[in-house]
């Protein structure tokens, strides 16, 4: 079957962080904050977080913070809720949430006096001051504020009602009301409902069937019907199944095999499909997927917060 080439992946992640000479890294500069989260969480799941200089990273993270409190994808770029969550998550990995002025960060997400306040009347969340609405942002706001222990600052009831308005008759969720069910959106909505104690709004059997039918003949998972399998769905679909206790409805062995086949065992890294180019995004989702499948040698990951379980437990149960 093959094995997880953990050491190769660690080397790959550490190298990617430094590469500047390929076109890809230039084009992805704007989301370096996400990249940091993907790479560092993978390192932690493989037990190698100490291979990086946390102080250097934290220094850079803080340089990406804006006046408003939100974080940008990289220095000089505009703040957006997407990168704000990644920043919070990376600081959580290093157990350095205390460097944040929590009020400042939480304010950028929910400031009511400022028209830039991100929670809207209907409970939805905008990504930034320009107003794009998407349930991804609902998840981000809920997850981020929960990690900062100030979830009560938003109107949770309205936030939950908005998410439910995006629920479809197939049991899944879309990005806005009426939006087609998509595994990525489903993860965001199910995780948001999990964190807010509202999973009773999910029809677990109905959604569980939709999700388990993402497993195709090759053993990989796709994101919605009649699409190609992709390693990143090993996270979106699998974490959703895990949160609603239906993960036993797929074949774990076949999925493990699929993920392992997507590795570049020579140079490290994992790709979306076997023999495609690797990247940090898929490396993280492949390893996180293996974690949910209880693959030996990989730390347990929390399906709602997308952080190692020991990090989440430290936040909620630590003294």
């Amino acid at each position: 079957m093959g094995e997880l080439a953990a050491d190769k992946h660690v080397k790959y992640i550490l190298a990617v962080e430094k590469r500047k000479d390929n076109f890809e890294s230039a084009v992805l500069e704007h989301l370096r904050m996400n990249g940091a989260y993907w790479g560092l969480t993978t390192l932690d799941l493989l037990g190698k977080l100490d291979a990086v200089d946390s102080n250097e990273i934290i220094e850079w993270i803080l340089k990406c913070q804006h006046e408003s409190g939100g974080f940008a994808g990289n220095v000089g770029h505009d703040p957006h809720i997407l990168y704000t969550l990644s920043a919070i998550q990376v600081l959580a990995l290093f157990d350095k949430l205390n460097v944040l002025d929590v009020d400042k960060v939480s304010t950028c997400i929910l400031d009511e006096s400022d028209i830039a306040g991100l929670q809207n009347e209907d409970g939805s969340f905008s990504g930034d001051i320009w107003g794009e609405v998407d349930t991804r942002f609902s998840y981000i706001a809920i997850c981020g504020l929960s990690i900062l222990k100030c979830l009560d600052k938003i109107n949770v009831e309205r936030a939950v009602n908005y998410i439910i308005s995006c629920r479809n008759v197939d049991g899944g969720f879309g990005c806005t009301p009426g939006g087609e069910s998509h595994a990525g959106q489903i993860f965001c909505c199910v995780a948001a409902l999990a964190i807010t104690g509202a999973l009773h709004y999910v029809d677990k059997d109905l959604l569980g069937w939709w999700l388990c039918e993402r497993q195709v003949k090759s053993g990989g998972l796709n994101g919605r019907p009649e699409k190609l399998p992709d390693v990143c769905y090993s996270w979106w679909v699998l974490s959703s199944l895990t949160m609603i206790d239906r993960v036993h409805w797929i074949s774990k062995e076949k999925l493990i095999k699929f993920i392992l086949n997507c590795q570049d065992t020579e140079n490290g890294g994992i790709s979306d499909r076997p023999d495609d180019a690797v990247d940090i995004f898929h490396t993280y989702f492949g390893v996180a997927g293996l974690s949910l499948l209880e693959y030996p040698g990989v730390k347990a990951v929390d399906p709602a917060y997308a952080l190692p379980v020991d990090v989440v437990d430290r936040i909620f149960f630590g003294k």
């Binding site: 230039a26 949770v156 197939d170 069910s181 964190i195 569980g208 919605r224 570049d264």
Partner: protein
């Protein structure tokens, strides 16, 4: 990041690539500097357009362009030609970007932002959408944008419905089209139908006609390519729409209508129990209401309870749901029975009236409008236990030779009466229209032609099950066939083995609980050497059935002692409805964590629990972590944690499940979590414990 080959097709000129990357970085740097310094010159703005064409994901550039537009619009003072030319330019930039990546969130949002300024003809936008949907009918960004434009244009739902029909006609394999169709129908069905009925539009005159047409439409998709999933979920939704009960109804209750129940005089813990004698504290007589769907508004105003002894206190009805504090399918309350010494031992007639006043509403907003009444008799025994009968009951052993088959006799006519009346008769169901049964029947006959493939077998199994759900008072039919179909599916589609297994188990339990004879054959007296069989606890044994999921709880509200050992269960969700449970055996199953035992927190009468020989502690991933009330799901405050119990080896899951239980007997051996320190923790947590893993506790 997707779909690029690992080994590039032609050799890479590394130097050229590095130069290209360097150039891009320089441009981005220049752009960021313009942005920081708020420079919106023509040159600067063109630079941003160039960058967005290379990389539409550069979100800051879209923000920058919006700022530039705002400034330019302010300067041109609403001269319509200037405004149009400014906004036209933006639309062009978006189109260029979309050509590069038609899944770019930033590009689509920018277009919406421009359109909201009231520019561009909507027909032009629809034209653009048609082009995009022709290229990729599954692009959800395009579908979302279409909804946005349709709303701006105030297009009618009928027109949009027609569009989905056009997309389906072009290609049946279009899940997105089916989804959008279901979206319009589900959100607008009643509105659409009533509007159309007013207009007397041809073809849409009633729900069954609409459904029949939709079934015809989707059937083709299922039959054309048996592996194509596009129509599967739509078909399942049609089925749900066909059989779902419009009205919230009471399905079953505890006590059952017409029961005759004896209560002991005083507290005694593990005394004898039979079908009509309860062995827990007489203070806590439960009333349980089981509805056909989740409802809210069950309280002392909407449910009146009257009995011989005074019950002036408002009863507090609680929904038995772990996360929902407002609604549930199952509601319970407890009657505080006064001491028997104060009353003569006569029978009290208790009447429970459900829904005679307004207020109970289903979570879908339908008012409860079919009131029910349940009457039963309570006998309070005056004499306390004989002193010889030690309150210390022997240790329960769940072995076959401790159980004697129940022989129905005149001594307990109540059990037979009870089993005859488990399901409440609801008039509205027996006079339900026959169109539902007709549609199911027709569909079943059609799908029998597809029995050689997965979706055919699954659909027939679901249709037969749906047929039974339409007739809750009759014995279910076709169970054997349904069980066989699921067994075949387990072989045909092994990846989804457990899905079929779980459904198989549910049908099996329906079959087992469907008749009085079947239930009676599984009732046993528990035989202990200190007791005679007369009055010994009655146990329902559902062990060794290879069941992996539980169901049919509405048929089991009367159960006090339950043996579920030697099955394949990993969850007991739903068991909270069995409020009378005092002895429960879950040994030799597949429980992975204490969080999977959340339901036990509702079983206030539970005294004996056996969870030995499971997998608690063997798994790194907890699949019921968020289906459990804890600070992680913000359903329990952090201040509710009792720090004393949490040491470096935290057993927070076990702590939360067990802490308020008055267990007298607990078995946990054969789980990876067990250890000396865990047992010490348990003894501290459960002061009422007499037996732990078969050993007497000091």
């Amino acid at each position: 990041m997707h779909g690029r080959p690992r080994k590039p097709l032609k050799p890479v000129d590394e130097a050229a690539v590095a130069a290209k990357a360097e150039k891009l970085r320089a441009l981005q740097s220049e752009f960021l500097s313009n942005h920081q310094n708020k420079i919106y010159s023509k040159e600067a703005v063109e630079l941003s357009a160039k960058l967005l064409e290379i990389n539409p994901e550069l979100y800051t550039a879209w923000n920058y362009r919006k700022l530039a537009v705002q400034q330019n619009l302010a300067q041109c003072e609403s001269d319509p030609e200037s405004v149009n030319s400014i906004l036209d330019e933006e639309l062009k930039v978006v189109e260029n970007a979309l050509r590069q990546n038609f899944k770019s969130y930033g590009a689509w949002h920018h277009r919406k932002w421009v359109l909201e300024k009231g520019h561009s003809s909507m027909d032009k936008e629809l034209g653009l959408l048609d082009k995009f949907q022709a290229m990729d009918a599954r692009n959800f960004h395009a579908w979302n944008y279409r909804r946005f434009v349709a709303a701006l244009m105030k297009r009618s739902d009928e027109d949009e419905l027609e569009h989905t029909q056009n997309m389906i006609d072009k290609n049946l394999s279009n899940y997105s089209a089916w989804h959008n169709r279901s979206n319009f129908l589900s959100r607008n069905c009643s509105v659409l139908l009533s509007n159309l009925m007013k207009k007397a539009a041809p073809g849409f005159t009633s729900k069954d006609e609409v459904l029949t047409r939709e079934y015809e439409l989707v059937r083709e998709a299922l039959f054309t390519d048996e592996d194509d999933q596009s129509g599967w979920f739509y078909h399942l939704w049609l089925l749900d729409q066909t059989v779902r009960s419009e009205f919230p109804l009471l399905v079953s209750s505890w006590p059952v209508e017409g029961s005759d129940i004896s209560l002991p005089a005083a507290d005694y813990l593990d005394g004898c129990a039979s079908m009509n004698v309860f062995h827990y504290s007489s203070r806590n007589f439960p009333l349980v209401l089981y509805f056909n769907q989740s409802v809210r508004g069950v309280n002392s105003s909407t449910v009146s309870v009257s009995c011989g002894f005074n019950l002036n206190i408002d009863l507090i009805w609680k929904p038995l749901s772990s996360t929902d504090s407002q609604s549930a399918k199952v509601w319970a309350t407890h009657l505080a029975i006064p001491d028997a010494e104060l009353h003569s031992s006569e029978a009290y007639q208790v009447e429970v009236k459900v829904g005679f006043s307004q207020g109970i509403v289903s979570t879908t907003g339908v008012a409860y409008s079919h009131p029910s009444q349940i009457s039963f008799q309570l006998h309070l025994q005056k004499t306390p236990l004989e002193s010889g009968q030690d309150s210390r009951f022997g240790r329960i052993q769940w072995k076959d030779d401790c159980f004697a088959v129940y022989e129905p006799g005149s001594a307990e006519p109540d059990l037979v009466n009870l089993l005859d009346n488990l399901t409440i008769k609801n008039e509205v169901e027996s006079t339900a229209s026959t169109w539902q049964a007709r549609i199911i029947d027709d569909e079943t006959n059609i799908f029998r032609d597809l029995l050689d493939c997965k979706i055919g077998k699954l659909t027939v199994a679901r249709l037969l099950t749906a047929y039974n759900s339409l007739r809750p008072l009759d014995k279910p039919v076709h169970c054997k066939e349904v069980l066989e179909l699921y067994s075949e599916l387990m072989k045909l589609d092994p990846s989804h083995y457990q899905y079929y297994k779980d459904n198989h188990s549910l049908v099996l339990l329906q079959q087992v609980t469907s008749s009085k004879e079947s239930l009676l054959s599984r009732c046993f007296h528990y035989r202990d050497s200190t007791l005679s069989t007369n009055g010994s606890p009655l146990c329902l044994r559902l062990n060794n059935l290879a069941i992996s999921q539980l169901g049919s709880f509405e048929k089991l509200l009367w159960v006090q002692m339950l043996d579920l050992s030697n099955n394949e269960l990993q969850s007991i969700e739903g068991l909270e409805a069995l409020q009378l449970l005092s002895q429960l055996c879950l040994s030799n199953n597949k429980f992975r964590s204490f969080t999977a035992l959340e339901s036990l927190r509702y079983l206030k009468s539970l005294k004996v629990l056996d969870i030995s020989q499971n997998e608690i502690g063997s798994h790194s991933i907890d699949t019921t972590r968020y289906l459990f009330r804890s600070p992680l799901s913000h359903s329990v405050g952090s201040c509710d944690w009792n720090i004393n119990y949490l040491s470096s080896e935290t057993y927070w899951e076990a702590f939360f499940v067990l802490k308020d239980m008055g267990l007298t007997q607990l078995d946990v051996a054969g789980n990876a979590i067990t250890s000396k320190s865990f047992n010490v923790f348990l003894e501290k947590l459960l002061p009422t414990l007499k037996w732990l893993d078969g050993v007497e506790v000091n």
